[in-house]
């Protein structure tokens, strides 16, 4: 049972999905989905327990030893991403029933849960697999289910957003496929650990260099690294309310995980940074992304779109950590990946609760909501503080490491710029908080009531986790620090 855990964590959601599609009753399908999702949380916690301290699990699918068979490989980094995907996915799926009730006719609900579970299963698959081609296949499954989820949004612009994402996402995935093809051409293997051994011999080969270029562009499209973020704001804005929380938490973060895995493990630090100078490309793009996206966020009047632009800026922080090429920087990237997933999912969930009552996400309609929905707005304020990076919240921990990393490289100007960019986050989050607490509620929203407890509890779980991970950083920064040391090949 313990030995089979790596397969079980994937199969739980992957098998629950088709069963859900066969159940016509939305309520039963939801119960099944919730049980499968929370069981996978337990499984990923157990896996984290097994790899804690720097162990690795190598599981052979079907008993075929690698490099012939498909290997499932779990280390602390993948276990952390696994917890991120399953925990935050499960929290969202728990409120999904309440959120869907008004949005969709009930006989369609079970299909929606199916798509959601498929997306979750494929993200788990990307995280645990040790096979490069498997990454492509799972990436495409997750993208396809994401397009379908976004297209279910109520506004018709959700359709164009989904279509745009489909075009961009498919180009990105096909680029990754080309990269994998080139790697296979040179080395004759698809196993990631095997590739890592064989690629350094061919570092001067033009084919390997081309594959690196294709891979970086393809995965950057999926992560939405500035300036390839074109699809993200609309996709997040028009996706169904609670689903945005799931997408913002998981999809881009798992793509970022793939990027870290390939840059550091498969291609290797030597090749990626010393020979291809990926840091010289990522550094200016990340800084530009942080500032431009934050600036755009400040001037948004739709809160959902504001948070979407803020996501582009926050992804800039994560890629910036990679570009620093030191332990503190990579620690910041991995920590912020987890923390931002938690904070942004919580913010979108609180916003979903507000939209549920107000039927609008325009900032004017949020006026006075701090008095009519005090609990939801309270959670929103705590999470907003986390996004800004106020001490004792999770956001502070990752920004702390990031600024430390900048100082370690002697880039004082960059450290100052990071603090300025945090002030921009104060501007856009403060704008919402100001309206929510200090403006009188408009007449049509006088009788707005607090949402159901079943939605409030997950909102507050996110808010409390944000505070918890601001104080106890063993799971986030602790793991991230060990992972960074292993990936960069120092300290061990």
């Amino acid at each position: 049972m313990i030995y089979q855990l790596p397969a079980i964590v994937l199969l739980l959601t992957l098998l629950a999905a088709p069963i859900c599609s066969m159940i016509r009753n939305g309520d039963i399908a939801w119960k099944l989905a919730v049980i499968a999702a929370w069981l996978s949380v337990a499984a990923s916690m157990a896996l984290m327990h097994q790899v804690w301290g720097g162990n690795e699990i190598s599981y052979h699918m079907g008993g075929w030893p690698p490099p012939w068979g498909i290997e499932v490989r779990i280390d602390e980094l993948s276990a952390l991403v696994l917890i991120l995907v399953t925990l935050f996915g499960s929290l969202v799926i728990t409120v999904l029933r309440e959120s869907l009730r008004t949005a969709m006719r009930s006989h369609r609900h079970s299909l929606y849960y199916t798509t959601f579970l498929l997306c979750m299963a494929s993200l788990i698959g990307i995280t645990i697999t040790g096979d490069a081609f498997n990454v492509f296949v799972f990436l495409e499954i997750s993208s396809l289910s994401t397009y379908a989820l976004i297209a279910r949004g109520r506004d018709r612009r959700a359709l164009t957003a989904a279509f745009r994402y489909l075009i961009m996402g498919t180009i990105g995935a096909t680029f990754i496929l080309i990269a994998i093809g080139f790697m296979y051409m040179v080395t004759g293997t698809l196993n990631m650990a095997d590739l890592a051994v064989r690629l350094p011999e061919h570092a001067d080969n033009r084919v390997v260099q081309a594959s690196f270029a294709f891979f970086i562009v393809g995965i950057a499209l999926k992560i939405a690294i500035f300036p390839l973020h074109y699809w993200l704001p609309n996709a997040y804005t028009y996706a169904p309310k609670a689903t945005t929380a799931f997408l913002a938490a998981t999809a881009t973060k798992v793509s970022l995980y793939v990027m870290i895995r390939f840059i550091f493990d498969v291609y290797g630090v030597e090749f990626s940074f010393k020979q291809m100078h990926i840091d010289a490309l990522l550094l200016p793009l990340s800084v530009a992304g942080i500032f431009i996206a934050s600036l755009i966020a400040v001037f948004q009047s739709d809160v959902k779109r504001l948070l979407a632009w803020s996501s582009v800026a926050q992804l800039g922080y994560m890629s910036l950590g990679i570009a620093m090429v030191n332990v503190a920087g990579l620690t910041a990237t991995v920590t912020h990946m987890f923390n931002h997933a938690m904070i942004k999912a919580g913010l979108f969930l609180c916003l979903a609760a507000m939209i549920y009552r107000l039927n609008s996400s325009h900032i004017k309609d949020l006026a006075g909501i701090g008095r009519s929905m005090p609990l939801t707005t309270g959670a929103f304020a705590v999470l907003g503080a986390g996004l800004v990076g106020i001490p004792l919240t999770a956001g502070f921990v990752s920004k702390w490491y990031l600024i430390n990393a900048a100082l370690e490289n002697g880039w004082v100007i960059l450290a100052v710029m990071l603090i300025i960019s945090s002030l921009m986050a104060v501007a856009y989050i403060g704008k919402i908080i100001d309206v929510a607490y200090f403006k009188p509620a408009p007449a049509q929203h006088k009788d707005v009531k607090e949402v159901a407890t079943s939605i409030l509890i997950p909102c507050w779980i996110f808010a409390l986790l944000t505070i918890y991970f601001g104080i106890d950083t063993r799971l986030t920064a602790g793991v991230a620090g060990r992972v960074a040391e292993t990936l960069l090949g120092v300290g061990l």
Partner: protein
């Protein structure tokens, strides 16, 4: 040189043609066609690299020693399935876009969206003035 790498030249031409169609055409269905051409070029790339000169189909038989690499074919079977699913989903979304907008031209859709947004802000300012 050109004759020896004939397959790869075809791959490059198809790839560029496909990408160009995706980027340049305003018609959503044409975009999907371009995407298909682009993906097909990658399928050809994989199939070409599996071919071994003088190799036969990978079925063990007397008198044959060289076999083509079957792995790339298997990979591409999976990729074709992914491609078909993407096309199907893309077309399904296009149908829904046509129902919602009565057009499948990207520029017209963008125009209608902007018009809509202007109307929405106009309405909300009126409401704000009244209250």
């Amino acid at each position: 040189m050109i004759a020896g790498l004939f397959n790869y030249w075809v791959v490059i031409i198809l790839m560029m043609a496909g990408l160009y169609i995706v980027m340049s055409s305003r018609h959503l269905v044409k975009k999907i066609i371009g995407l298909n051409v682009f993906q097909t070029s990658v399928f050809l790339l994989f199939i070409s690299m599996g071919k071994i000169s003088g190799g036969t189909a990978p079925i063990i038989a007397d008198g044959f020693t060289a076999y083509s690499n079957p792995l790339t074919h298997v990979l591409i079977l999976t990729a074709i399935v992914v491609g078909v699913a993407t096309t199907a989903l893309g077309l399904a979304i296009t149908v829904r876009i046509y129902e919602a907008y009565d057009t499948v031209d990207e520029d017209d859709i963008a125009e209608m969206d902007i018009e809509n947004e202007n109307k929405e802000t106009a309405v909300s300012t009126v409401v704000a003035k009244n209250t």
